[in-house]
Amino acid sequence: MDLVFSRDSFTLRGSGIFGEGVHLVSGPVGSGKSTLALLLAGLLRPESGTVRRHGVLSADLLLQFPEHHITCPTVAGEAASWGLVPEDALALAELSGRADDDPFHLSRGELKRLTLACTLLKNPDLLLLDEPFSSLDCTTKRKACGMLEERDAGITIVFSHERAVLPRVDAIWEMEGGVLAARGSVPDAIPSWRHAPPYLRYALEQGARPVNIRLSDAREALCRIRG
């Protein structure tokens, strides 16, 4: 990927290679994460440059606002519109009893669970998740992280400003002011991660070296140095 995209006064620049594994693109709100996700999904065209895919036969994007995915008047119909067996998606989203409900009658968190379950069940080669943890409670965030970590193949790119509950990742990228910067592979990238969560910063300040970016990794690293 090597691209430049402009809209009004905003310009996005980014280059790099997203290999197999889980990538976290972090950065503050409005830094260009969603725009980059749309560019990588092929839903926006760069002004210059290109996004090249190698060995990617299927791709899916989870949009930031789950209501933007809705194309059917029932929850079961919505799951079916993803080309899935509705019962499977509804069970994963813990919405089995809501099959005939209007998707707009679900809370945003429930709707997020549904769309997240649908994208994960489709299991594409390239999975782009724009703010997958927003609107979710802590328990569901942890469950979502677990499901992401279970994906054993393909490229997963998580675009998020989340700083409390995060999945185990293989690489960290940062967006700031429309510029994408590669921080590198984890754990080497952690010390240079500017938007690292407070628990990771604390662990680093204490001299610990977490092996990944989760709270449990920071805790384990602290335990190791404290005996």
Partner: protein, 217 residues
């Protein structure tokens, strides 16, 4: 045309003229060619062409039934051009200002608020159609007759829900009836001549052409 009062008056007169007769529509088209930025005021082809196609389909059905299909197509297309120009020129708050100027702070404010909400609803609807297009692209759904109905239902439900939310928001903010604004209008030197010229198509559409022109034959 900068003055929204004259623009609204001109659009009303020209639309009535275009609707009433083919001659009125032809005169309104001449007015559109003379006093508007013409093609610059049109929406992108993806929005305009489906609207023209809908008018053409109705005209075709009308022709089939022995009606004046071609005249209908011409008249409605001219109205569409006028509507596109008026929509492109309208700025936020103008409808409220015109309504308050015309009907006062109570009835005018209510009418203007409804008009403003309607116009802003159009741009929201356009965004929602874009979002739905993105969603169906992501899901790999082929656009067709079978997918149109649930999409249309989704869009209508979303619009109704949004209207309900705005109504609740107004209540929460203490809105009951009416309001007070001091409307101010900008004007262009060409506004008045253009508005006066808009009367000609209206007159042409109401007068039988044989009474105005001596027709040979």
């Amino acid at each position: 045309m900068q003055d929204p009062r004259l623009r609204l008056l001109s659009v009303a007169l020209l639309s009535l003229a275009a609707f009433a007769s083919t001659a009125g529509a032809a005169a309104a088209l001449v007015w559109w060619l003379l006093f508007t930025p013409r093609m610059k005021s049109l929406p992108r082809p993806g929005v305009l062409l489906p609207l023209v196609a809908m008018i053409a389909a109705t005209a075709l059905v009308s022709s089939w039934g022995g009606g004046a299909g071609l005249s209908y197509l011409f008249r409605m297309t001219v109205i569409l051009l006028l509507a596109a120009w008026a929509y492109a020129e309208t700025e936020d708050g103008e409808m409220l200002a015109v309504a308050v100027w015309a009907l006062g702070n109570r009835v005018g404010f209510e009418a203007g608020l409804v008009a403003e909400m309607g116009i802003s609803g159009l741009s929201v609807l356009r965004q929602e159609i874009e979002q739905v297009r993105t969603a169906i692209a992501l899901k790999g759904i082929r656009p067709g007759v079978r997918s149109v109905v649930p999409l249309a239902v989704t869009l209508i439900v979303t619009q109704i829900r949004r209207a309900d939310e705005i109504a609740r928001l107004l209540v929460v903010r203490g809105y009951t009836i009416g309001g007070r604004i001091c409307p101010r209008f900008r004007a262009d030197p060409l506004d008045v001549p253009a508005a006066i010229m808009a009367v000609i198509p209206a007159l042409l559409s109401t007068l039988p052409l044989r009474d105005v022109f001596i027709l040979v034959g």
